[in-house]
């Protein structure tokens, strides 16, 4: 009798085994996870989704006081508060994507241990639900933008390349997802990385041009600190697109796009290798 198998489970894995057809079949699950993340995050809180706005606002206020008022960092014609808010809003998206995805295997051990679905759905849903959060935070940025431009009379205007902003968001998503998947895969066996992520991301912020503009690094001759950090370029470019302020270079653009794609590909490879047997080692 002719034997036709629907699928075969074997120990061997191909290097890149991303079954896009399968991911597509589970697209409803992806959206449900996004919905779950969004509606459950602030359940049983009084302020609810307002927390989305409070976080970046308060951080910006503090950063403005500390870095601009006390330490005296100059931001040119851009109001320091807006400068920081733009940086923090953008940075937060990357940070949330990375920290949340880097926990994928450990956090979902329970459910991954019981049932199969394409594991990549989980980190993808995190990147997507954070996109929504990012969108809300962008609204508050726009509100302050308008306030400064129309009432406070600050000489700010967006760059003519503003339409490229989604590309930047895509790069951040890929970078956060890719790095997060790499870390989450390694955390299943060696927990050391959990500690690295939590404080590493704090340190990374300072060399990602979130509060200190690239010009200041160049001025002090420590440009090498930020030269190899794609997030630095992304934040600088984001500010350029939004506020028409900052330096962008051809090298920076190419470097960012290439490293984002590489991070994502590498992440998928490692993630796929791990997902089959991680439940035995976690």
């Amino acid at each position: 009798m002719q034997q036709k198998w629907l699928f075969v489970i074997t120990p061997k894995t191909k290097l890149i085994d991303l079954n896009l057809k399968e991911v597509w079949q589970y697209r409803d699950l992806l959206m449900l996870f996004v919905k779950r993340d969004v509606i459950t995050l602030y359940k049983q809180t009084i302020l609810g989704p307002l927390w989305y706005l409070i976080q970046p606002l308060f951080t910006s206020v503090i950063f403005t006081l500390v870095f601009n008022n006390v330490a005296g960092i100059q931001t040119g014609v851009i109001p320091p508060f807006l400068f920081n808010l733009a940086g923090i809003t953008t940075w937060n998206y990357f940070k949330e994507c990375l920290t949340a995805t880097s926990d994928t295997f450990k956090k979902n051990e329970q459910i991954f241990g019981k049932v199969y679905f394409p594991r990549i759905i989980m980190p993808m849903s995190i990147v997507l639900s954070n996109l929504l959060k990012f969108g809300i935070q962008l609204l508050i940025l726009i509100a302050f933008y308008l306030y400064y431009a129309l009432y406070a009379g600050a000489a700010i205007r967006p760059s003519e390349y503003l339409f490229l902003f989604p590309v930047l968001v895509l790069c951040m998503g890929m970078l956060g997802l890719g790095l997060g998947m790499i870390i989450s895969s390694m955390v299943t066996k060696y927990r050391d990385l959990t500690f690295l992520v939590s404080f590493g991301i704090q340190l990374l912020m300072y060399i990602s041009l979130v509060v200190i503009p690239l010009s200041l690094f160049q001025e002090k001759g420590v440009e090498w600190l930020v030269m190899y950090n794609p997030m630095g370029y992304i934040i600088e470019m984001a500010r350029y697109l939004l506020l028409n302020e900052g330096n962008i270079s051809q090298f920076g653009i190419i470097y960012t796009i290439v490293s984002s794609i590489l991070a994502l590909l590498f992440g998928i490879v490692i993630f796929n290798k791990t997902e089959k047997t991680f439940i035995d080692t976690i």
Binding site: Q3, Q25, Y26, L32, I39, K114, D280
Partner: protein, 428 residues
């Protein structure tokens, strides 16, 4: 549809686990594996490894949870899988449901496999029942449209209609199982894997769930793999039985025979006929070390004659003074059917005070159970807090005997108990 259509084929399936802690030693093993791979050689750690017998001390840190498993399942079959703890049941199910990969071998399937989640896994406590139905369904591989079209049926089957708009965290554990099972029952996979979920939920729901599984296989022509310790449910439901020993298949075939052979395997629990050691539970100052069964001549045994005295002797280690020690004994048939229970809290009119190591003797006079094999489960509690419940910890056999005044051997025709009665003829 062909009746003998093989839907699932398991070939030479093995799964190796590494024991012990993950530490710096793990890196060197990983490194050796990596070296072997780049030189195109086989994983060096696959050649070693022992069978997974947890009670013996091994020499290797690698064990085989499953070793060269082969079987086939036909469409529409309900295959029961039983085996002691550590026999590899869960590992097998995990590989079947793609949760973890096999070390060697392959599983070939002609249908979608879905496994029934354990209580509330995949449920988000903050979301309502309805939202969770969608989420859980999607996790199991359904599309939103499929779920929406069956939503009313699912809610009705779960019997949680009043609660569908309430967050799941307010549900009782039974309700969570009902909801989880309801979603899975309407999933319509080709192969449904069920792992002991029915243990929770009341009798009514269990009956409903078992009925549903029978429907799934008889009407839907779908296949069910059912893992359970509940011999009664296995017997009711399954058309074929697989008994797993330590990592290998001990028995494959007819259900009743399989259960018998499996339960006879319990004899290994007998240390020296009618004597069994129990493991010490954690965090207790008082525990039952061993149980032995004595016959009327005070000899340790595991078979007594019908109508005789049966003595249960407990050896209890006790390190502190306790005012309230309760012990209960449950006697069951091999298929799990309950026969009787003896509870110290019900039998004695004062509580048991204990202060140091002691032996407790329980005499059961006139053991008028019919000849058969019986199994004893024990449970004990300190200050009304349960310490341990051990299922099937010891077994005994009742042998045929003359117990009636007629001097005849009583033949059981399916009955379980015998009573000696007085007959009196009365005329008006």
């Amino acid at each position: 549809m062909m009746k003998d259509d093989v839907i699932l084929k398991v070939e030479n399936l093995s799964k190796q686990y590494r024991l012990g802690l993950v530490g710096t030693g793990t890196i060197s093993h990983d490194f050796n594996r990596f070296l072997a791979r780049i030189r195109g050689k086989e994983d060096p750690y696959l050649k070693i490894g022992e069978s997974n017998d947890r009670s013996t001390k091994g020499t290797s840190e690698y064990v085989w949870a499953l070793k060269d498993i082969n079987f086939e399942v036909k469409r529409g079959e309900i295959l029961g899988i039983i085996g002691k703890n550590g026999a590899g049941k869960s590992t097998l199910l995990k590989i079947l449901s793609k949760v973890t990969g096999p070390t060697t071998g392959a599983i070939k399937s002609k249908g979608r496999i879905a496994s029934l989640l354990e209580v509330g896994t995949g449920f988000h406590p903050e979301m309502t029942g309805k939202e969770n139905i969608f989420l859980n369904g999607a996790i199991l591989g359904m599309t939103k449209k499929e779920i929406a079209s069956k939503l009313d049926e699912i809610i009705e089957f779960s019997g949680c209609e009043r609660y569908v708009e309430t967050p799941v965290k307010r549900y009782s554990s039974g309700m969570k199982v009902r909801l989880a099972f309801a979603v899975a029952a309407f999933l319509e996979p080709d192969i449904l894997v069920v792992d002991e979920v029915l243990a929770v939920g009341d009798a009514e729901f269990q009956k409903k769930a078992i009925g549903k599984m029978q429907d799934i296989s008889s009407q839907g022509g779908r296949t069910v793999l059912f893992v359970s310790h509940d011999m009664g449910a296995i017997q009711n439901l399954c058309s074929r039985l697989l008994v797993l020993g330590i990592g290998k298949i001990d028995y494959d075939g007819e259900v009743k025979k399989g259960i018998d052979s499996y339960l006879n395997g319990y004899n290994i629990l007998f240390d020296s006929k009618g004597f069994v050691h129990l493991e010490k539970p954690k965090n207790t100052t008082c525990f039952v070390k061993s149980i032995s069964l004595l016959n009327k001549d005070s000899q340790i045994t595991n078979s007594i004659f019908m109508g005789d005295l049966l003595t249960l002797l407990f050896d209890v280690e006790c390190k502190s003074k306790l005012d309230d020690f309760e012990i209960s004994v449950f006697v069951r048939l091999s298929n799990g059917e309950k026969i009787f229970a003896i509870k110290s809290s019900e039998q004695l009119n004062s509580k048991l005070n204990v202060s140091s190591n002691f032996n407790l003797k329980i005499d059961i006079n006139d053991m008028n159970l019919m000849p058969n094999d019986y199994f004893i489960a024990i449970a004990y509690a300190i200050d009304s807090v349960n310490v341990l419940r051990q299922e099937d910890c010891i077994g005994f056999k009742i042998l045929p005997n003359i117990v009636s005044k007629s001097n005849k051997i009583i033949n059981a025709t399916g009955e379980m108990v015998f009573f000696n009665c007085d007959y009196t003829l009365i005329y008006d």
